[in-house]
């Protein structure tokens, strides 16, 4: 019961804030709403039993990324200025399309998905398993992607410095 209520709260939070994030006039507010969405997502991870993912989500997203965002916003925006939106017709078109997509996908989910699964009680994942899987080279083990990601991260670091440094 508690789980359901928590879920409901989280779901409502995510839905409301994500909509607010994209419709808000002030960019700083959007970022704040985004932060709530990310936190809500982290909550969902927790609810699903992925504790590690919850931690990563909080640390990387809500921590790292959001800080970047806020800095960027503060650097590029004059306070109090409204964010420009697209032309009205485009916004309407975008809205209609999004709603259509939402309806269509919702329809599929509502009518089709519930017949496909059996719920297994969420069990906590052991952090050792995660570590082993991440470092292994066997089937269903992810050393190679891990290395790729690390190289990618390195590249990003270098790239970001290169791009952003003063000439």
């Amino acid at each position: 019961m508690a789980q359901q209520i928590i879920f409901f709260i989280l779901a409502a939070m995510i839905a409301v804030f994500s909509v607010l994030a994209v419709t808000s006039k002030r960019i700083i507010r959007s970022a704040t709403y985004l932060l709530f969405v990310l936190l809500g997502t982290a909550g969902l991870y927790l609810l699903l039993g992925y504790h590690y993912l919850f931690a990563v989500q909080i640390a990387v997203y809500a921590g790292g990324v959001m800080v970047l965002f806020i800095f960027a916003i503060l650097l590029t925006n004059r306070p109090g200025e409204n964010v420009k939106t697209e032309r009205k017709d485009r916004r309407i078109a975008a809205g209609i399309t999004s709603l259509a997509g939402l309806a269509f996908c919702g329809h599929i989910i509502y009518w089709n998905v519930n017949k496909m699964y059996t719920l297994v009680v969420p069990a906590e994942q052991k952090i050792q398993d995660i570590g082993l899987t991440l470092m292994g080279t066997d089937k269903y083990q992810y050393l190679l992607p891990f290395e790729f990601i690390s190289v990618l991260l390195l590249a990003c670091i270098v790239g970001a410095i290169m791009i952003a440094r003063k000439r």
Binding site: S18, T85, R90, S98, G106, I109, Y110, N114, L134
Partner: protein
């Protein structure tokens, strides 16, 4: 409608509920992506969509293949990549702002320094 609520609160959270949440998040992201001009807002929207996808991965992993960890890892990597992407994107945005004092997509049709 009443049935739905009773079912919802008496049974474990169904998968479609998670999917519904991610769906709303995703299309909010889509709407934001299409309707905003600021690069930062577009980035925010992208984050929303990525998160929605992440949720889906995790949910599918949990509900359909509970014994495995693919979805989990996919999400993990996606978060890492999203972080990279955000970092680079923000670097670019700041750089653009420095040159053009604007971060509006409509005005960025010149590739010059």
């Amino acid at each position: 409608m009443g049935d739905l609520f009773i079912n919802f609160f008496s049974n474990p959270v169904p998968m479609e509920a998670y999917l519904g949440v991610s769906l709303i998040m995703f299309f909010a992201g889509v709407y934001g992506f299409l309707s905003r001009k600021s690069l930062l807002m577009i980035l925010v929207s992208i984050e929303l969509m990525l998160n929605a996808a992440d949720i889906n991965f995790v949910v599918f992993n949990r509900y359909l293949y509970p014994g495995q960890m693919e979805g989990f890892f996919f999400t993990l990597f996606a978060i890492a990549i999203a972080a990279c992407e955000t970092a680079v994107a923000i670097a670019i945005i700041i750089n653009i702002y420095r040159n053009l004092t604007s971060v509006e997509v409509g005005e960025l049709d010149e590739m010059k320094e």
